[in-house]
Symmetry: C2
Subunit: 329 residues, 2 copies
Amino acid sequence: MLRAKSWILKKHFEGFPKRSDFQLKEVELATLKDGEVLLETVLLSVDPYMRPYSKVIMKEGDTMIGYQVAKVLESKNPTYPAGVFVISAAGWTTHSISTGKGLSLMLPSWPEKLSRSLALGTIGMPGLTAYFGLSEICRLKPGETILINAAAGAVGSVAGQIAKIKGCKVVGCAGSDKKVAFLKELGFDEAFNYKTVGSLEEALKNASPDGYDCYFDNVGGEFTSVVLEQMKKFGRIAVCGAISLYNDTVPQKGSYVQWPMIAKELCMEGFLVTRWDNRKEEGLKALLEWVEQGKIKCPEHVTEGFENMPAAFMGMLKGENIGKAIVKV
Amino acid sequence: MLRAKSWILKKHFEGFPKRSDFQLKEVELATLKDGEVLLETVLLSVDPYMRPYSKVIMKEGDTMIGYQVAKVLESKNPTYPAGVFVISAAGWTTHSISTGKGLSLMLPSWPEKLSRSLALGTIGMPGLTAYFGLSEICRLKPGETILINAAAGAVGSVAGQIAKIKGCKVVGCAGSDKKVAFLKELGFDEAFNYKTVGSLEEALKNASPDGYDCYFDNVGGEFTSVVLEQMKKFGRIAVCGAISLYNDTVPQKGSYVQWPMIAKELCMEGFLVTRWDNRKEEGLKALLEWVEQGKIKCPEHVTEGFENMPAAFMGMLKGENIGKAIVKV
């Protein structure tokens, strides 16, 4: 009988997650019933959303949530025969049993040469977030100027590259000079290190003196309060993430948004990628095509070893990754 | 030669406007040139937007901005013959000369028995704000639940009545028991005095335990932070005004909006009624029809005397009016 290792949320995070908030646990897996498959995890994803959602949908003792690429070891479900690779939401675990619910096969057109890890990044949930956030929430049009923060991250780096494909001027900010250099390599028109610019307001004005039509916000908080003043009339703000707020013990406070929203008639919309679950295939195909054409580059920050999941997660929250943070079992 | 009296912004407001910030001035009007008309003001409007816009578009010494109903005394412009009534943006003045630019005639179908003051309220800019804010920004659908604050004001009272016509459940809040009684008379399903409820959160939950599909926000600030937590998934927020913030000397601070916006996928949009200038006729006709059918009631708070403009304005900002605040010359 197989024993699975799982990372458990031992204690709800208070402030920035600590190693002691996690616990490694072993569980014995049952024998497969009809319709079930046994999965062996190959690659895992750590993403910012896990921090706020731990509070919302997890209780202490639950396995940490998350997506993974897994191989079907044994199958009593003809949709997922042994040997195929699937995307699973089994969370931080080395093995799991699934009824097939919530599983999805890798795209049939997935090229041999392409790392399967991209199914957790550019050609997966983060890539779809960028894709639909830009088209459906920003309603980005060619020739417009867009600002993207946390731009070297899994979502931001894809959003910036799609915006370039769409014929836009793209301004990115990130938290280190190395990331800024990376953004320039990706083709961002302007990029700056928000930690060293002194005045964010001035940096935004220098990067686009006319202001911004769109703002793809992964950060929130004070950063966004400054950006609102730099938006153009009828600007659109896609609220994708708020990483500057996730680790608050006492909620931060800042300027109210109403006056800039009225004076410039801004539209700000929060979104979750699940909204377009019925259009997943369209998005994945487009992303795969751009990757194959070399129009989107997919850097990854890979951590080796399942035992390093908490470290990889905390590192990602600190911004140590350039591109998608991935853990190889 | 005619002398006009005008109220001047003597000193930019700091905090709540004071009588000494205004100055009454007399100016001699020139003789009419070809294409010009001489207007005599009959009715004036005082509105919340004048407070924030004084900062944005006025300098000290300028005539206070605003709409008025005026009678054409003399005309050298065939579009506006002597004797007709027009809506003018001449501001706080008893007489003015206009080239016709920015003037509009009263609706040709305006019934004799209807007070012309409604052209400054329910069948004018505030009514259009409610009309387009509901249809275009809230995208209100029959059966939905909408929250309206400052609901006894010029815009809120019309918004609530239109939402009832559209088949929605309407919850209103206002700042006195008299206003709350008035909202009930207008047909609001639920209404409460936000100053006396103790917990706004509880009051909102009691009025609609399932939450709110739409929120027509005239207030902003802390009030809105509480409401965001009570919105339903995919809720829409029309940011029409922010009267709780207009008189700040030091800008207030509050919770950041990003997390509730993301978790519930909310859409928040600021707007100015000028966006639909090309659909004005459609809106005015609909409003006039509802008023004539008795489906929309149009209470007014009338102050007599041009000399009382500053008092009427300050009273409106304090919330002394029920319905539209109007000044009769």
